[in-house]
């Protein structure tokens, strides 16, 4: 796609009919968890969308987030989203290496000052920046340098969003989240270990379609995908209501598909779209496969007790911990909401200017 083209022109030049475009818009609206009535609005916005520049930085991570994304639904509908962005730097996927690659990043930053989207996966070691470097540049310096002129940051994965596994106790590298370092840019946290690929694509689609920051929850996550907890959307919820629980992974209850709460399912405190968007091309999600949710999209999930401990017995669920967490959560929520709101306002004001 040429930089002077909008998406509508680009699709027509590729032989995509209006019917194909409407299909693309329907799938994109569904991807963004928008109601089907929004398709006309999506079509109008997408037809006029320009190609945004995206710079993707990978820090202390396992590449699972990139794997998740690149193994997402294959062509054609979703790949158009990627055709429609200019992925100017991604050191796992790009062919260039060394100084050439870094020069490309710097050039993209300069050329798209104030307009590019910075995607980050992985946490940032701050105890000793030398723990993780790229081309001799510490993650900390690279993040600061790339963030200063970006439009917004998408923190992909729980490591970038909340510190994740590198930040788990005893946190040997002093790993922190992007939002612990960058405080003057809008940050969208797409948490998960890894995040659902279509949620990553959905956030990029939102930028592409509306050019704005999506509505965020108290932890900076898009409410379209993180607005409801797994438990409320779980098809096993009726068993929970009736008190029908699997006690072991091979008992009668497990075979009958009963609720996995007693086997450590963290669905009741986990906000994500797994129960509806699902994984592997909509095939299923962990609970559907017979394993409880491990709360991978929540902060500090590694340090909250055993994955197989019921919420009522683990660190998530003792009365004291729950009360403490609720208090801290409320305080954090208010602070984050204020931050998110002011960031959003600023971004929107900058966009209008």
């Amino acid at each position: 796609m040429r930089k002077d083209q909008n998406l509508g022109e680009y699709l027509r030049s590729q032989g995509v009919s209006r019917r194909g475009f409407l299909k693309f818009c329907s799938a994109t609206a569904s991807l963004m968890a928008l109601p089907p009535s929004a398709v006309a609005q999506v079509a109008e916005a997408l037809a006029a969308a320009r190609r945004p520049s995206v710079i993707w930085l990978s820090f202390q991570e396992c590449t699972g987030c990139t794997e998740s994304l690149t193994r997402s639904h294959s062509p054609t509908v979703e790949s158009l989203i990627f055709d429609a962005i200019s992925l100017d730097y991604h050191h796992t996927l790009q062919a260039a290496a060394g100084h050439g690659a870094e020069a490309a990043r710097e050039a993209a930053q300069e050329e798209n000052k104030g307009e590019y989207i910075l995607v980050v996966d992985g946490s940032i070691p701050v105890d000793n920046p030398a723990y993780s470097t790229i081309a001799g540049i510490s993650n900390l310096d690279m993040l600061k340098d790339s963030a200063k002129d970006c439009f917004a940051i998408v923190s992909v994965g729980t490591c970038a969003a909340f510190g994740g596994l590198p930040g788990a106790a005893p946190n040997p590298t002093g790993a922190v989240a992007v939002s612990d370092i960058i405080t003057d840019k809008p940050i969208i946290n797409v948490s998960g270990c890894p995040p659902i690929p279509v949620v990553i694509t959905g956030v990029l689609a939102h930028f592409l379609t509306f050019g704005t920051i999506p509505e965020l929850d108290a932890l900076g996550r898009p409410t379209a995908f993180f607005g409801q907890n797994i438990h409320d959307r779980c098809y096993r919820r009726p068993f929970y209501e009736r008190g029908e629980f699997a006690e072991t992974f091979d008992d009668e209850g497990a075979r009958k598909g009963w609720c996995l709460y007693k086997l450590g399912c963290k669905g009741p405190i986990t906000y994500n779209a797994c129960a509806t968007v699902k994984w592997n091309q909509g095939m299923g999600f962990p609970i559907q496969a017979g394993h409880g949710c491990i709360a991978c999209s929540e902060p500090r999930f590694w340090d909250k007790g055993g994955f197989y401990d019921a919420l009522s017995t683990g660190d998530w669920g003792t009365r004291e911990a729950l009360l403490g967490a609720a208090g801290a959560g409320a305080a954090l929520g208010v602070a984050s909401a204020i931050r998110a709101r002011s960031r959003k306002k600023k971004a929107m004001a900058e966009e209008e200017a």
Partner: protein, 131 residues
């Protein structure tokens, strides 16, 4: 080695969402018949247990019209046994489902020829006749 079929796992789980969805379709159909606008339901938007989507499909049945649109991968459009209720399945080029909708309408928008495509067709036909 035993086959997967021999593992005694049952999937008779019900969310209780199938009947409300069918009632939603009934209400939408009545609105359409009463001269109001059509309704589109995204099947991904509500939790369904394994087998429940198939149950919805089986209840709606198959009607008189089936069509396949070949644009960015196949889209299967089928009128159910209830006239005005259409099941639309968008697939990508690898035949994987990317979205599923129930449309309550006289004719799904995707089946109509689109003005932009008609204009492009006129250009092509005129060009063909000039040569």
């Amino acid at each position: 080695m035993s086959s997967l079929d021999t593992i005694p796992v049952t999937t008779e789980v019900a969310t209780g969402n199938v009947e409300p969805l069918l009632h939603e379709i009934r209400h939408a159909l009545k609105r359409l018949a009463g001269g109001e606008q059509g309704t589109t339901i995204d099947l991904k938007s509500l939790p369904l247990a394994p087998g429940e989507e198939e149950r919805i499909e089986a209840t709606l049945g198959t009607g008189e019209v089936r069509a396949e649109v070949d644009a960015l991968g196949p889209t299967l459009i089928r009128e159910t046994s209830y006239p005005g209720v259409w099941l639309i399945t968008h697939k990508n080029a690898d035949n994987a489902v990317v979205a599923r909708f129930i449309e309550v309408t006289y004719i799904p928008e995707l089946l109509r020829s689109q003005p932009e495509d008609i204009d492009a067709g006129i250009d092509r036909l005129e060009s063909e006749l000039r040569t």
